[in-house]
Each structure stands twice: as structure tokens, then as C-alpha cells.
Symmetry: C2
Subunit: 590 residues, 2 copies
Amino acid sequence: MFRTHTCGELRLTNVGQQTTLSGWVQRARKMGGMTFVDIRDRYGITQLVFNQDVNAALFDTANKLGREYVIRVSGEVAERSNKNANIPTGEVEILVSELSILNESKTPPFTIEDNTDGGDDIRMKYRYLDLRRNNVRENLELRHRITFELRRYLDQMNFLEVETPILIGSTPEGARDFVVPSRMNPGEFYALPQSPQLFKQLLMVSGFDRYFQIAKCFRDEDLRADRQPEFTQIDCEMSFVEQEDVLNLFEGMMKHLFKFVKNIDFTEAFPRMTWEDGMKYYGSDKPDIRFEMKFVELKEAVSGHDFVVFDSVPYVGGICATGCAGYTRKQLDELTDFVKRPQIGAKGLVYIRCEADGTFKSSVDKFYSADDLKQIASLFKAQPGDLILILAGEKRKTQKALCELRLEMGARLGYRNKDVYAPLWIIDFPLFEWDEDTQRFYATHHPFTSPNLDDIPLLETDPGAVRATAYDMVINGVELGGGSIRIHDSALQHQMFKHLGFTPEQAEAQFGFLMSAFQYGAPPHGGLAFGLDRLVSLFAGLDSIRDCIAFPKNNSGRDVMADSPSTIAQAQLDELNLVVDLKPQTPKGA
Amino acid sequence: MFRTHTCGELRLTNVGQQTTLSGWVQRARKMGGMTFVDIRDRYGITQLVFNQDVNAALFDTANKLGREYVIRVSGEVAERSNKNANIPTGEVEILVSELSILNESKTPPFTIEDNTDGGDDIRMKYRYLDLRRNNVRENLELRHRITFELRRYLDQMNFLEVETPILIGSTPEGARDFVVPSRMNPGEFYALPQSPQLFKQLLMVSGFDRYFQIAKCFRDEDLRADRQPEFTQIDCEMSFVEQEDVLNLFEGMMKHLFKFVKNIDFTEAFPRMTWEDGMKYYGSDKPDIRFEMKFVELKEAVSGHDFVVFDSVPYVGGICATGCAGYTRKQLDELTDFVKRPQIGAKGLVYIRCEADGTFKSSVDKFYSADDLKQIASLFKAQPGDLILILAGEKRKTQKALCELRLEMGARLGYRNKDVYAPLWIIDFPLFEWDEDTQRFYATHHPFTSPNLDDIPLLETDPGAVRATAYDMVINGVELGGGSIRIHDSALQHQMFKHLGFTPEQAEAQFGFLMSAFQYGAPPHGGLAFGLDRLVSLFAGLDSIRDCIAFPKNNSGRDVMADSPSTIAQAQLDELNLVVDLKPQTPKGA
């Protein structure tokens, strides 16, 4: 028998009992004729005592134990004279009478402590050791608790978890599919799902009424900062619902989760903001509303003063940073450099200092009088001591740059506190996005999203103005989830495909079975999907989703621990009727 | 608003209330000036009444409703005069005052009834309609309930659910991997996991102590009768355990599930049988012990009677079928044909009838005297009226044929009742299997299975006799799950690889990171995995696992509904640096 208790279990009430523990050596300290060893498992740490006077041979063995050795010990539970109030087992220790070394350990390449000395690369290569660290394991424990509680909640709400296939057909729309060659069907490929979208809609046609799945999804995209080629989605769909029903149900779920994980009560309804207002006031479809600092549009106020930078552009907007009037030249130059970085792309930054004495000082003093500046400041309701920051340029691009500047100022001012949660719904997304390169509309959400029924007349006359019945849940500037009411009418779906530039043949080839299903009594339905990795990261206060994934991949999609992907045997390729041709391909259209 | 109640919710206590329901038209019956429509959703069926005298226009609309139309109705709940005791809503009906057609439906290609007129092929093509049938949906509801309850149970037992990657590295050992070309790593491939084996062992090295996952697994094998290219496994692993701990915990889980799903109490421990006894008495490592009919070995008893068929073979064995002495010539010929089928492969069948008068009649009367036959019958403890059936030949092959014959007789005699459950553990599997073709040993379970420590001396002298610390749970002749205690010592693992014919370089290339992990303090550990598809099929009494999978594939690995797999675009192949070459390949070794 390996243990009678875990290493986190013994208390004063166990004193005098015989116990057997198994675990890892966290550290050993020799003090005169006594050696103290901390034994660790997932559940905690317990102090072991070896006394030279009681058992010299055992004492000698104990002194040979290295870090991360796996041991089993038996002995009597005793009260500690020198208690450790920091750990639950800190009032007791084990007077060891038996010790077996179950396995030795080489010296780990980094310390197994909350604050390790190991860098990112080495910890990823030895991920199995990194996972021994309490804080890393706790992220995965939280992930377990969150998924378990979500399942419990959705089960109580009559949702059925249904597994949909991982080996599906490839659909060209959207991001890139991973494909899987089929040995039994030579020359043909499965794809891995980017989401279970089609299948969950089919389940609604099947009358499943309420479906969910905690589903693995896959995207063969270039991996930006915080993406993984495989990710997990809490995927939900409901029948006989309108947008209001979906928002209410999942707002309830999220409130439940906040209570469960954080003991936070959200008594008020989550605010709702149209996509248009998100862009206007925050330059973003996922605004961080932990703080105000809303955009003020200034084009009208600043025009006609012979300042060509403002006069020549369609958009001028700014934000007001409370109490930042004292920013030095150097600090303002930093901010200018920040907004001029290529990924932000502003041309420059204009500031107005609202001095403590009620005067104004600006980088554009020669174009604007004191009264002009006062008038502009009043649009921000700026107070003495505030700093106004202004950008100008093409509308959407400048809004996005101003969004980054706002987030930067929010961070500098300590407004982006990880312990504060500010959820909201973004609604009324545009149905279509126009792509200049290909000169066609794309579905903002996906081709099955229903237009707002009020806007249907606009479909033919002004498609860009049609609002979708689509919604995102955003918390602290992170898009946690989103969804839509779907089209359940074949005629409307065909109209959508037409606007998206599909020929009837293309639509039939890609979505024929869904269109066919819709002819046999499709109910009104809608749903949404939450990103589980992001959700856990939010609750754990993580900077990267990698920290809540047991075996993540790096930015090149590689598992550096297992060294995958890798080449495969020629025989395997032959069986799949495939030839690898690494010569650079000439693009067909070139 | 689409509904105030579901179609399964209204009772006599609701009479007089206004209600709104949405669902599908199950059927409509016109009787004089009244039309009765049954409206169906996942939760039940409710009767709607349209009265020509009350609202003639509504009555006309109701008469145009086709099967599977999606409708919304409002009206008053009323007590039925003609109650239907078969359904929970059978005491009430709705006097409809409003009716909207939410969607029309073409006539389904088969009837949406428990006993449908649709064949397998058409139901698979229109799987979304097949899933509307109550009995099909109920299988998936059961699957949901079983997985939810398993998660609850394992969570209570301190198991953490951890998601392991789907995109992993390819390992040549075992059944064939599906592979996934990587666009970001040209010429390299991921593989889809046949099981999370390596990752769950790494999690034990990481100190996760108790891990589980309801995990998708993949095998690119030729699909036999009841296999799917993707399947779901309840995958578990524990640290600091011996075989006894694992068996106890998962026997407890299965007993809990029987109580939960079937309200069956298993008060006794599951029987345990060695693999050797399974072969000896049932010719199988997954014996159906709902009935006895154990094999009796006869080689000694039948030898030396100049019957060359028995004298020339190493194995003669038989079974005794109670009360079958009356089998006709035709029935016995059927059995002979049965055992001679190529997939069973026996050469012939010998019988001994134990007549009611105490005499014996056999197909080999000329070689065996009445006394001889009596003596043989006594080995079976045969009674007058019983029929003894005997096969002879090479040992394992004949045992397997006799196993099939036993199952056939068990079925004929009604012993294989789906409402009776006979679980057992098979233990002491052989560690290695010898393969004649390649003249090498293969791991019976997998290369990480620990030998029985008592047999370690045999590793060098008689590897074929070494028992594994491996176990299967078998119920009613189905292997529901299996596992083993793993090797946690690198030296022993290297020894295993040597016996399995891996060079150190091959072992390093394939399992290097696991071997490396084992050098940093691997705990003793073991686990097992259950096949979820088989488990649900067992509890639902299904003949095929396909019936508890929402969107299964056929025997060629195709989804006939979505028509996948399929060819992909040239541009996609170019990006992946792949060329499809359908010319027949010349095998390298030919």
C-alpha cells in the first residue's frame, strides 16, 4: 500500500496515529542530528523528521534524498514545536520509521517552485516538470472546476451534451482547415472542424432543442500572440428562441460562474452596447469598460483653423486622461512613439494640457486660441489637471489607434485591475464586411447569421447597412464568446449565399446537406460559443491562454516537448497516395 | 415569444390556463368539424384541437398542416374527454385560438416514428431526420446522462479532467495513425491520438495524481463490423496505486453506474478470471458469463480410439447444451455449417446426444463404445436430454471456434438476455504476443505495461510466459475497458523496448520525451480506459455503437450525409506542399 493519507491531509487531530505517505521530495534540511524533509503531492506538503539518535541508518538514507525523488514513508504523526501557519498541515510532522525510495530523480533543469528560475523555452521543453509547479497545476484545476460547473449548469437548463465529429468535410469559407488524408478513400480528405456550427444547427433541425458541447476546434492560421492551432469552445445552441432569450440564459450562466469561482454577485443586467457605439466611443468591438475615458469626436470643433492635419482628414477624436496634465515632455514623446508604432499606425499625437490654474497648453497652440482649447476641453468635461490626447486620420483606423492609446492610458492609470470585472454585450453587428482586396462582402459572423428582420429591405439596396442578429459577450476588453440567431428559412439563406458571392452550385457543394435539412421543418434557432481557454485565463488572471492548457504549442504550432509535428515514414505516405513536394509552388494565379 | 411551456409539460392542473407551444406536427386527424393535431418536441406530445364552429379560418389552416411542419399555437388548456393514458400529457388538450406556421416541411423520406419504414442507408443520409425519432434521441440522451454522471463520480473521487492535445506526434507502434499535414512546418505532419496514453503518463510524472478525460481517439483501421474511425474513451490514470486499487475504484464506478442507469445493485465483487482460464473455459479473453456452458478439454479422454481426427490434433474440446438432445439432423447440419464458416474455420463438428433413456448417440459411434460415450458425458456432468458438441484442431484456433459455437448455443437457448448483466475482470494477460509473420514479440497491451513483478526473472529466459499487470473489464462478452499498471522505472522500460525489437535509437525517437520524463521522479502509476460508445450501447441494449453516435460514419469511413471525406482544392494541396498520386504504389520491399 502506497499511502494511508495524502500529503495535504494530516492535522492535529491525527497526532499519535501511524500514517503512510507517498510523494516527491520538495526540499531537505539537515540541522545537527535531525533532518527535515518536505514531502509533496498534489494535495499539499507535509514535514518529515529523521532523528539520528533514533535510527542512524534511516537518517543516513534521508540525507541522500535529492530534490524530486519519489519516496514512501511510514511513521507516527506528531505535533510540531515550530508550527508553520502558512500551510494547512503546518501543525504536525511525521516521525519517520520507514522510508523507501520509489524512484530517483536527476536534478531538474529549473526549480519546482511558484517563482521558478526557468525561462519560457526550457519550461515548455520540460512541460511535465513545469506542471508540477503549484500555480501551473492550479490553473488546470480551475479549468476542471469551471468546465464541470458549466456542464452542471447547462444540464440543469435542459441542455444535452452531444459529441459531433472531429473528422468532417472541408469548407472553404472562413479560416483555414486542417485536413486529414483518408487511407480508405484514396485522394480524399477529411477536415478538422473550426467549430461544430453545421452539426449544431442540424441538431436543432433534429429537435434536440438545447444542445451544448465542450468541443475541440482547430484553425490552421498563422498563430498570433495568443492563439493555438487547437482550442476549446463551449458551444451552445437553442431552438424556439429570439436574441433576448439567448442573452438572458447565457448572462445567467456567466453570473453563476462569477459567483461560483469568484464569489462576485452581479445583481444588475450586463450593459448592452451596439457595435456602432463600441466603435464610436471605444474604437473597438470589445471595449474594456472597467474605465470610462470615452472617445470625443472633434472633427467639427477643430475644423477651420488652418491646421491642415485636422482639416485634411475625415476623423479627429480624442480622450481625456484624468490627472495626467503633469506628463513630462519625455512621457508625451513616449506616447507619440507608442501611437506611431507600425501595428498602431497613427501619424502623430496632439495633446492639450489642462493646467491647474485653468489655462491650457497644447502642441497646436499656434492654430488654436486659449478659448478654442477651452471649448475643446469642455467637450471632454476636462478638469484642471487633465490631459487631452487627440489623433486624426481615416476614421476606422484612427478609432483603432485611439483605442490602443486609451488602453495604454488605462493601464498607466491603474484602471485595468485584474480583480475588477466589467462584462457587457455588444449587439447589432453589421451583417456584412466589405473586403477591398477581393471587392466582395464577407459574413462578419458566418453565413448562417440572420439579418435583423427590420433591415431585410436593405439587403438589396444597402447590404453594408444591414445589422446582424449577432452578439458578443465581452469582459475587460476580451471577447469571451459570441453567437447569433440563425437563418432557418431556406429562401433567406439562399439570398445570403448570393450576397456572399456563392454560386448556387458552390452553395450546394458546400452546404447542400444543411440546405436540404432546412426543407424538412427547421425551427427558429440561435446560439453562441464561448472560448474556454480565454474564459479560464480571465478567471485565473493569466496573460496567456497557454498557461491554462496542459500541453500547448508554440507560435509555430510546435509541441517542443514531444517535437511534433515531424516527418512521417515513406510507407505511410505511400499508403495515403501522397507525395511531399517541398519545391516552392508557383501560385496558380501568378 | 415562442412558448410558455414545452409539449411535454401540461397536466390537468393547467386546465383553464392560456398557453403557447411550439413544435413539429406529428400527425393531424380530421373528424367531422374538428381537427386534432399532435404537436411534438423533445419533451413530449400535446394534442391540439381546432373547431370549425369556433373559428372556421383557423380550422382551414390547420387542415393544411403537413407532417413535420413547424408551428406555434396559443390557446386554452382543457380537459380531454377521451384521455390517453399512454402519454403524460394525455389528460389535456389545447383549444387553439392562434396558429402560426414557422416553417413548412417537405414530406420526409421515411416516417418519424419509433418503428420507421426507413432502411439503414436512407436514415444515415437523412440522419438529421432519423435523430428526430424518439428511440434514437433517447440513446443520445442516455449518453449525455452517463457521461455527466461519470464526470460527477470521478470528480468526487478527486480525478481532474485534463484536455490533452488532438494534434500530436506520430508513433509507428500499434494501429495506424491518421496524420495531419502542417502548413507552418512544411513536409511535417501531426498525428491524431489513438489514445492519450503518453500524455496521461506524463501527467502522473507531473504529480496530477488522478487524471481522467472523456477523450476523442482515432484509428485509421479497416472498419470491422462495429468500429468507427473516431471513438470516445473514458481515459483514467492514477498514481501510487497497485492493480488492486485500480480494480476496486473502477468496479465501484461501474456499480454506481448500474445503480444510476438501471437501478441494479451489484452487492458482490465482480468475479476475476485469469486470461489463461478465459481461454481454457470460454476460448475468449472476453467471455460472456451470463451462462455457464464451460469448455471441457477432452484430448486425454478421446485419445487412443483410432479416431484419427482426434488423435492427430493437439486439442479436443466440447460444450454441453442443456436440453438440446432433440436437435434434428437439419439443426445439427446447421451447426456444422456454422462452425465451418471461413471466419470460424473448424473442420467439422462431433456431437453426442444424451438420450432421455440414458443411452448415447453420436456421430462417432463407430470409434467410441457406449461406455466411452458415457464416460465422456460424465466429464460434462451431462444429463439425459443434453447435447454435447465437440471440436478438434490446433489449440487456440479451436478454442476460438468453440467460443463462437458456445455463444451461438447460448443465443439459441435464450441465455443472452440483454436485461441480465454479468461483469467480470480478466487479469494476468500475457505481456507479449509472438507474431509468426515478423518473428518478433509485440506488446499485448502496449509497451508501457508493467510485467508482473514475480515474472521478471522470466523476461530473459521465457518472455512468452511473462504475465502483464494488465486487466480488462468485460460485461456480457463485450470488452468495455482495460488498462494496466505502467512501468515507472526507466531501466525496466528500456528492457521492454529491447524485447519488443526497438533499437535504442528507435525508442529514443519515438518515446524519448517519456523516457526523459521518467528520469525526473516518476511515481508508480496505472490506469485504464473504457470505450464510451460500447458502454452506452450496453446500457441502451443496442446492437451497434452507431446508434449512440449522433453523426456516425459507415464501414468505409464515410459520412454519407455530409458526403465526406472529399477531394480538396489544388490551392490547399499546394499550400501544404502535397501532391496526390493515385497511381498504384510499388511497395518498397517488393
